[in-house]
Subunit: 341 residues, 2 copies
């Protein structure tokens, strides 16, 4: 298992792709998810996305991370802005302000269509899973794009200024208040997406990739859904995390700030420790190569910063090759210590 | 009572405006409503709008006639297109089509803000009356802009191809199927807007103007709400209808087509007969001056076609002057025959 579909190259008759699960949040995760989608056979990639950031605004159900991944994989995302759609206009928001509507969260005119149509279909009784599957199909995405659960899980950020719903912390307060903790309201009562659970239990599963997303805000909500953590511990596939730290900083967002506020060093050591017992290996950026020595799990050092489509594809290839390279090593034994298998 | 506020002229210290009620539907009605608003003192004009065309689309509550009047009075309407907002963009609709959303009814990006915010506020428990009052205030409208009722009334068009909800008849089918009748679902259980009922009962009310809207589709729904017809018969004010017929044709929309299909002649005679017992006088267009002889209620002949702001103001002035001119005539007695007063 060394070759994967590559859309940029003529397909080789000898290629075969394994089934892969990717766990991810928004922007950083979406980039690697796109890289994975471009090299993995249609239907073989299951992308499971954080919904802890979801919220209701103006009566609409917004799923920021799912939409970021959808837009990236569909080629609809705005690369410069980093969120939302390309060729976006903002006339809805301008008019909404005239009418006194809530305007702290920017919704582009094109983006709005997804929220309105999703909300309508949810109210008509469809599941978020079913709706996103259809949206992905309509926009030509070959991967399965899934919410971690169809039940409401809401990330609450505990700060020195009080508890804040995630989007209030992230957008309204611009991540300014110092974080003291994070919790996931509703997670205990949520049911993990059955497609995720089936994929993790599949003996043919090749790899689980934890994308370079914020561990606390993007991946922990997924792990907080009952059964997911245990299923990761039990899976036959190698579990690889791509560290979101590059050169001792987070590429984007409040990851580094939160790590500082929680008294954690902004290093891949902290990331590895965070996922201890869950992952078989970690991929870290070349600029942090010096950290490799202190890590007590297998490490692959490569460029994790993804600026171009090629960067995304290269990182995806490197991660899968790293997982594949472990097949004959005893590395998994360490992860499986204490598991129920 | 011969002078009214005119924004285009320096205000005269001797002006005083009476309280006026206008009943109207969409485009044609909105033009005269705007003319009235420009000459009547702030707070003295009550515009009561048809909500029989209201419907739910994409989970949003759309009130086409109310919005047309709002946009016209707020100076936000698109004059060339005749509906919706000026400087409109259509990126929401384009994206909605990508996601398979219902797209037969065009919602502009700016226009959408009103629907989203109205729907949110309705779901939060506010009345349509309260919401539209606030929207009118926010957009600088000095008149009271009211739905005929806060309860759902839905115009059903009976056609040779079956019964159609109004917007399906009007937009989806482009008014093509021949009309055999019209009914107003929910009207019997609706409560007339209390502000309308108070205004009609006010002994100080100067005039009631039935705007040049489609009598069957725009005014009849208002008259179908229990109590409105009787209150119009009892009101102390003169009730004047402005005929929507110009030169034996309707200016816009399916009025003439429907009149033909219902076996009615497309003349102001038919309009006068339609409102028999309710109106004290009719205003008809100069091009139909020959019809005046056969009308058995007082007639004022003037230009009713409104192309410019001046046309709207002039017609508004003419209508109010016509109502005022009746104060010393016995004309009202004819209308009041058979009333309960």
């Amino acid at each position: 298992m060394t070759s994967f579909k590559d859309r940029s190259l003529p397909s080789s008759p000898s290629t075969r792709s394994g089934r892969v699960v990717a766990l991810c949040g928004g922007v950083g995760g979406a980039k690697l998810a796109l890289g994975l989608e471009t090299i993995i056979d249609a239907g073989q990639l299951v992308i499971v996305v954080n919904t802890g950031d979801d919220f209701e605004l103006l009566g609409l159900r917004i799923s920021p991370d799912l939409d970021t991944v959808l837009y990236n994989l569909a080629g609809l995302s705005d690369q410069a802005r980093g969120w939302g759609r390309a060729n976006e206009t903002w006339n809805f928001m301008a008019a909404l302000k005239e009418f006194g509507g809530e305007s702290w969260f920017s919704l582009g005119d094109r983006d709005l269509a997804l929220h309105v149509e999703r909300t309508r279909r949810l109210h008509a009784g469809e599941t978020l899973t079913g709706i996103m599957r259809d949206m992905a199909r309509r926009t030509g995405i070959s991967a399965e794009l899934l919410p971690m659960t169809d039940e409401p899980v809401r990330t609450i950020v505990h700060t020195v200024e009080g508890d804040l719903p995630f989007q209030h912390y992230f957008v309204k307060h611009g991540c300014a208040p110092a974080v003291t903790g994070i919790s996931f309201s509703g997670a205990d009562d949520a049911t993990a997406n059955p497609t995720l659970m089936r994929a993790l239990a599949d003996p043919e599963l090749t790899a689980v990739v934890i994308c370079p997303s914020n561990p606390f805000l993007s991946i922990d909500p997924i792990l907080a859904v009952p059964g997911v953590r245990a299923a990761l511990q039990r899976t036959a596939a190698r579990v690889i995390v791509v560290s979101p730290i590059v050169g001792g900083q987070a590429v984007k967002g409040p990851t580094a700030k939160i790590m500082n506020e929680l008294g954690l060093s902004v290093t891949s050591d902290t990331i590895a420790a965070h996922y201890a017992g869950l992952v078989d290996g970690i991929v870290i950026d070349s600029s942090d190569a010096a950290d490799a020595a202190s890590l007590d799990i297998p490490v692959h050092v490569t460029q994790t910063l993804m600026r171009s489509a090629e960067d995304k594809r290269n990182l995806a290839r490197a991660v899968l090759a790293f997982a594949s390279s472990m097949d004959e090593t005893p590395a998994a034994a360490a992860r499986l210590t204490g598991s129920t298998r």
